[in-house]
Point group: C2
Chain length 354, copies 2
């Protein structure tokens, strides 16, 4: 932990630093439970998957949507909870797997959506950090992400724990062995977090920014979304995340020389699909920083352009690592601006929405 | 048309003004074709619906997602085209209805996604403004929104035509007669567009803003998304749209006294669900403007607070009207800042993404 991190933002800093241990615990203590849930789900042979979450957990749900579509080869959708809670929809959910993701397991709209889904015939799974929560109690099956109590309002360790738990869950449902590289994630995460100086330097670049764009494609798009949310809730920047393709369909017009852009470019197909996006951003003169394990990042680092290189892992696993320096980035920007990332203005830890 | 609208931004102004005639034409000439497509779709008894679009058409697809979930009582998802085009996913799409929405019908990723979906067993429908497009040719069924050639880069008339076409399509699939109020939409739209002074006044409020938040819930959430996109692409504001519930899960922290917020509050359930959101925004001291047909809007107007009241229609139809003053708002802000909304920097009419 760096100097000063036991003061303002000390909780968020401590929880970011805990992540290697959290991932390690989940791999040691959680794998058997998750495999059991996965077997029960696989036996139902779901034909469609619905995923629900809010805030940070919505980004974990979005990551799971890519896993479901690509690895399970099933159609999937992100739930708009309001259709059930506000409009009272009672959809036919036979053959549907409904997965709700929530750190607290306490948001009433998720609890109610899951209860509705269950009564409409869905197989329900809650992925939470609280096995005694209403969401866990309401679901047929529960996955505990075992991240330990999270006190900072800005979620960090529960996000990476949710990602890894969802990866393990859907590998199990696909009846595929997890990539052996998962075992290396705790050490890779520790190595990344130990190397904080480049992130602190990058944070100084954004000290006076009041808007910013993040972008990625595929598995890493949730990273862009989560990084933007961290910057919004801790540093009060208007941070906007776009899939690389959506960025070109309109929002690119607002990008100019004073627009900071963070592009996440992992090794693999999603990263390669970012090449034309990075090219268009370069043409626009954007203030571009590239983060990830892709060749693009290495090439930029070599040419002295702004970049944060990350270890190369399978693309499906890269989101677990990519977010770590971006959490630290949000922390640094917040603290440098005099904000307290543990207690963002206007927010509390459990947000109740209906 | 106002003075000066034949110059810079003249195309976008003309296309905004055409919308009453476009809606009228669709109701006269398109209804039978759409009813025929709906009958064929209903006969297949789809169990899940996937919707695909980019940019403005993605917002029309999001509107359709609410229709499907609430009115058809079927689970639905928005497609991430990259899972098929970048990752090569070949999902099992038997019993799935796949609807692709695109003004031009020409974006390669949509054409490829639809072709993949069709070969994976889905019933495919293209909703486009170009019956001779690749997307229309690739789909089993086609709905022509009949908006006439759209020349301005910022889509306007094709958006409301897509909304109405999707409304008619899914009313047909649900084997329900459309709300008789649809017949009144062209006149209501004309009345709204004739009353431009309050919108011009509102635009002057945002002349110097470089960021802005839009928010709504349910059927009107696509309105918030589309209004934000119009402001981004024509006026280069960092305009961020949030569902009212998601706004409270983090992004609220960045809202303060100098953050402009446009809340869309229709009459009906989605509008009523916005009451706690509007209350939290008021507590935060946000620079709030409320738009719509809800009671909230009337109350604010009566008390002299900033509001744009709209005609009351059934909540499912309100998005067709809500976007009209917000299109005009984007136009006014762009022109007042010296931008040309017909030719936003960095964009062309047909965006090709893969």
């Amino acid at each position: 932990m760096n100097a000063g991190e036991t003061g303002r933002g000390g909780q968020m800093a401590a929880e970011i630093a805990e992540q290697p241990a959290v991932l390690d615990r989940l791999l040691r203590d959680g794998v058997a439970e998750i495999a059991g849930v996965a077997r029960l789900v696989a036996a139902r042979r779901p034909r469609f998957v619905l995923l629900a979450g809010r805030g940070t957990s919505d980004h974990a749900a979005l990551y799971a949507k890519y896993l479901v579509e690509v690895r399970l080869a099933l159609p999937a959708g992100l739930v708009s909870p309001s259709t059930m809670t506000v409009y009272g929809a009672r959809p036919d959910l036979r053959d549907v797997l409904f997965v709700a993701v929530s750190q607290s397991g306490g948001s009433p709209d998720l609890v109610d959506s899951l209860a509705s889904a269950r009564s409409c015939g869905a197989t329900t799974v809650a992925v939470t950090n609280n096995p005694s929560s209403a969401l866990a109690a309401g679901a047929e099956l529960h996955v505990d992400v075992r991240a330990g109590t999270e006190r900072a309002v800005a979620a960090t360790k529960t996000y990476t724990a949710e990602l890894l738990a969802l990866y393990l869950l859907f590998a199990g449902v696909a009846e595929a062995a997890p990539d052996p590289a998962v075992a290396a994630l705790p050490d890779l995460a520790a190595g990344l977090l130990a190397d904080d100086a480049p992130v602190a330097e990058l944070a100084s670049r954004y000290r006076f920014a009041d808007r910013l764009v993040t972008t990625a494609r595929g598995y890493s798009y949730p990273t862009a979304r989560e990084a933007a949310l961290k910057l919004m809730e801790t540093s009060y920047l208007s941070a906007q995340a776009f899939s690389g393709a959506d960025l070109l369909h309109g929002p690119l017009a607002m990008v100019d020389e004073v627009m900071p852009v963070v592009a996440v470019v992992p090794a693999g197909r999603g990263g390669r699909a970012m090449a034309p996006v990075v090219e268009r951003l370069r043409e626009r003169g954007a203030d571009l920083v590239v983060v990830g394990g892709g060749d693009e990042v290495g090439a930029r680092t070599a040419s002295g352009e702004a970049a944060l290189p990350l270890p190369r892992v399978a693309e499906e696993l890269s989101p677990v690592l990519e977010i770590l320096p971006l959490q630290r980035l949000a922390w640094h920007v917040a603290v440098s601006r005099g904000a307290d990332p543990d207690r963002p203005r206007a927010l509390s830890k459990v947000t109740e929405t209906w």
